[in-house]
Subunit: 207 residues, 2 copies
Amino acid sequence: MKSISETEQLEKSKKKTTEERRQDILEAALNIFTEKGYNGSTTAEIAKAAGVAEGTIFRHFATKKELLIAVLKPKILTGIISLDKEQEDPVEFFRCFLKNRLELIKENDGLVRFMFAEAQYHDEVREALSNGILGDGINIVKPWFNKGVEEGVFKPIPFPAMMRSFMGMVLFYGIFNHVFPGFSPEKTIDEAADQILELFLNGLLIK
Amino acid sequence: MKSISETEQLEKSKKKTTEERRQDILEAALNIFTEKGYNGSTTAEIAKAAGVAEGTIFRHFATKKELLIAVLKPKILTGIISLDKEQEDPVEFFRCFLKNRLELIKENDGLVRFMFAEAQYHDEVREALSNGILGDGINIVKPWFNKGVEEGVFKPIPFPAMMRSFMGMVLFYGIFNHVFPGFSPEKTIDEAADQILELFLNGLLIK
DNA sequence: CATAGGAGTGAGTAATCACTCATATTATTT
DNA sequence: AAATAATATGAGTGATTACTCACTCCTATG
């Protein structure tokens, strides 16, 4: 009977389904890729880390590059912000959005840095980035920025310039801490977010 | 006679000195590395681009990694800002510094992105970055920031947070434009610098 | 001129790579 | 239980890699 064998599988936790194996490979690939880079990683070590034979990788993914794309695709679209309260205030939106992004970056630190590194060399990654997390960010922020400008709260500066600077402040948070470990003394995300937001909203000058 | 043969060399421009060949290799390596990444480049194609035999590379550099370091070392320490006038005003300093860095980044666009990409994976590059352009930036900016705070012009926010955001805004300029070609409509560096500075100094909010 | 020494060369080498395929193992159906 | 199908395996493969070395070429010196 079908149900018996399936139950046995679950109870003993020995055998894995095809999908579970696929996930094992994806997870291992993500770890190895983020640590050593795409060209610095071998399919042999990914297989070892995933606990499968090297050939098994190529049963699930036709090529190494296809594996790379499969690793990035689901990651790149996650983390869409949810504004829990029915938010109306553009300033509050920026606060929520900023914290959301910083948390995302902290949780996926290696991944984010990996994506920006490989975007250098792989068109596919660059497209995934601009269709994914970066493009999403732009689409989410734009109407709130416009709302703030219309309400007379924000200065009517060019959107691209604002967006570029904002994302630079946010994304560089992780990169900087990686190159300069220990340079930033903040202990919590909230603290870092508050400092970034204060500078972003009010600037360095005392008025 | 010595002088005759040397003169012949210069006039005919056929033979190259050891140092000139070394420079040819470094230049070719820089181009190939920035285009394809370290692990994506082969010593064979670097040799071809430099117009030398592959063996010649290893007469000048013991290993490929040593070549990488030799490529980055001189680049990483250049571009120290020169404040042409005897500047006293902290705000003016930031304006000069910002323009200087943006020009540097525009001129060495591929190199900067390459350095940050490889800093992901190579300790040596990370150290070179923190000892070089990033560390320099910190050392240059810090006294001016402190001066501004003492004079009551700048807010006394934590230096690391300020520095991180500032460098993020600046460095992300090049990265962003590479991932989103055409997103930023500014035509000149000065225009981009003004927009970044305005946001950095005064913030997004209308007071 | 003869000879020595340093620089350049490129075919050669061992190692490593992504990927294949014949076989083994497991799961499902009859 | 037997037959069939699906999946996993890892030794094998040709291509590619960083690096070597026996040799050539060029110039400087006695």
